[in-house]
């Protein structure tokens, strides 16, 4: 079906455009054939209704003959032929109508005949214009879709960045545990596998409940706690109302990874990562704090923060915020996103 029937606003606009177009057509016919207003209306109104419907047909023709890949000769020939056929058909219908009505309106048949060339030319022109309009619409739609596809691909690529540093260090911890504590080595293998599997599964989805995201975060931290031992301590305080909020998949996990890699890992005695989740009126606010060494060579945020920011921007525009505060010893990132509202999926 023509997309105009799926959008009542576009349909109303289309009908509205035909009102002046029909009036103009009527005026031309009445002048050319010296018809009275009533005679013109009697013939033109049904003709315009038919024409308005026929002028939607190029939607199919234009998609069958794409501008870029169709040879110019074929493109012109096919559409001109269609315009002539449409013009002929409309002429035939209107002549038949005039003939039928000439019983009541004397001489209509003859007078209408003299207006026929004008009508035929006008119809052909309107039809050709409609073809041009359809090409414009199709072109605009294609470019918007490719933009959406590109953005989605970008989101997927950002999510796919499982930090290799984390992965290889975890494997090294497992390698260390194998000889002395095989049971713990196996446990860690399983924890790591669970985390990777879950992040792959969640990464495929555009939005997930916040509760699932936090579950992934806990898996991540349990792996890191094997690696860092007592140096990594975690405190989580999330209001239950937060768990149902829809958030972009893997939006929190990179923030936690940052807190470990650029915070805890560079402090001798380690420290505590504090996570808070609050449900405000129509927003979800997530805060993560970690101690850090402001002088450490790589204590500044890495690629993770940039990715999260891009992801939020692509999905929410200005409706989401990511704020970073760095006091002399605490690094705090606050994420505020619209709650409950399902993030627009770009499927």
């Amino acid at each position: 079906m023509h997309p105009i029937f799926q959008n009542w606003k576009a349909l109303a606009l289309y009908v509205a455009v035909w009102a002046p177009l029909g009036a103009m057509l009527g005026l031309l016919i009445s002048v050319a054939g010296e018809l009275s207003a009533a005679e013109t209306a009697a013939v033109i109104v049904p003709v315009v209704v038919v024409l308005a419907l026929v002028c939607l047909a190029p939607w199919y023709a234009c998609r069958a003959l794409p501008l870029k890949s169709t040879p110019a000769g074929r493109l012109l020939g096919q559409h001109l032929l269609a315009a002539i056929v449409v013009s002929g058909a409309v002429l035939f219908i209107s002549r038949a109508l005039a003939h039928t009505l000439s019983g009541m309106l004397t001489g209509l048949d003859d007078r209408f005949r003299s207006a026929s060339p004008v009508l035929a030319a006008m119809v052909a022109m309107i039809y050709l214009l409609s073809i041009a309009m359809h090409y414009v619409v199709i072109e605009a739609q294609t470019s918007r879709r490719s933009e959406l596809l590109a953005r989605e691909a970008q989101l997927r690529a950002l999510k796919a960045q499982v930090n290799p540093h984390f992965l290889f260090n975890s494997l090294n911890s497992i390698s260390a545990l194998t000889a002395a504590d095989a049971t713990r080595a196996r446990e860690m293998c399983i924890q790591l596998a669970d985390f990777l599997r879950t992040s792959l599964r969640l990464g495929e989805r555009a939005s997930i409940p916040f509760g699932e995201e936090m579950e992934l975060t806990r898996m991540y931290l349990s792996v890191e706690q094997v690696r860092f031992g007592q140096r990594l301590r975690v405190a989580i305080d999330i209001e239950p109302a937060c768990n149902e909020c829809q958030v972009p998949a893997l939006v929190v996990q990179p923030l936690v990874e940052n807190a470990v890699k650029h915070g805890i890992a560079l402090i001798d005695e380690g420290g505590e990562i504090l996570m808070l989740g609050r449900r405000l009126k129509d927003e979800l606010r997530f805060t993560i704090e970690n101690p850090y060494d402001p002088l450490a060579p790589s204590s500044r945020s890495g690629i993770g923060l940039v990715n999260v920011r891009q992801q939020l921007e692509a999905r929410y525009g200005n409706a989401a915020r990511l704020e970073v505060e760095a006091s002399p010893d605490v690094y705090r990132v606050t994420l505020t996103i619209p709650a409950g509202i399902r993030g627009k999926t770009t499927a």
Binding site: P164, N169, S175, A176, A265, D268, D293, P297, S298
Partner: protein
């Protein structure tokens, strides 16, 4: 053979301990969990080989390398640090990628044996190696220096904001900070490359100055000037340095 293991992760140290325990004649004289301990232990034990992690608290592996005797044989260890790996490859420095097997460790030790004891390792200056391992557009935020005290070695960290100026002195740079002067074996050019050019300016062949410390610049001779610092110190300014200063202030 005396070895020192430097890694902040207990499990990472454990693997090395396990492997080295299987090597006849190998003795682990110290295990360190951060860069400060490492500098101290290396000065004290003069080991034949140091296994040095790159990312650590307090001092990273590159900074440790800057502060130890350059004849100390070092084998870096890292899980995945593309910048460090690129720098190691460029300087032909041997390194172990975690997790590694005992065969890979033996190969690295074998390479050490074939080397002359007098060779320095790595062959490039530590500061150059550190510069090569830094992503473009990032600069060093601190300078580490070592002081020899009665108990051994003591490490000081100078945040670059507290550095007034550096002066070239043969193979060393004299770093002036908070009323004290620290000597460090490094060329002034490599120090210049490590610091943000918007904050530190090579005002003279032999002087690199913190731009915030310059109170005024006075003419001296026809082609030279004198920079007067906020603490009253006077530093010579060359023609090229004067041009650099003006373009930095103007820009």
């Amino acid at each position: 053979m005396k070895a020192i293991i430097v890694d902040d992760e207990e499990l990472a140290r454990r693997v090395l301990r396990e492997y080295l325990g299987q090597e006849p004649g190998m003795e682990i004289v110290a295990e360190c969990a951060n860069g400060f301990e490492a500098v101290k232990a290396i000065a004290e034990h003069e080991p034949d080989v140091v296994f040095l992690d790159v990312q650590m608290p307090k001092l990273d592996g590159f900074e440790v390398l800057e502060l130890i005797d350059r004849r100390t044989a070092v084998i870096f260890t890292t899980a995945f640090d593309q910048y460090a790996m690129r720098a190691f490859d460029a300087a032909a420095v041997d390194y172990l990628l975690k997790p590694f097997g005992i065969d890979r460790l033996r190969a690295a030790l074998g390479k050490l044996d074939r080397r002359s004891k007098l060779d320095v390792n790595p062959a490039v200056a530590p500061a150059e190696l550190r510069n090569a391992a830094r992503p473009a557009g990032e600069y060093q935020e601190r300078i580490v220096v070592k002081e020899t005290v009665r108990e051994g070695a003591k490490v000081h960290v100078i945040p670059v904001g507290k550095l007034d100026y550096a002066e070239a002195q043969d193979d060393y740079v004299a770093l002036r900070s908070e009323g004290r002067t620290w000597l460090k074996q490094q060329t002034i050019s490599s120090l210049e490359a490590a610091l943000n050019p918007k904050r530190f300016i090579r005002i003279h062949r032999g002087f690199l100055v913190n731009i915030d410390r310059i109170a005024r610049i006075e003419p001296n001779t026809k082609d030279t000037w004198i920079a007067v610092l906020t603490d009253g110190a006077k530093i010579p300014v060359s023609r090229a340095g004067y041009t650099r200063f003006n373009s930095l202030i103007g820009g």
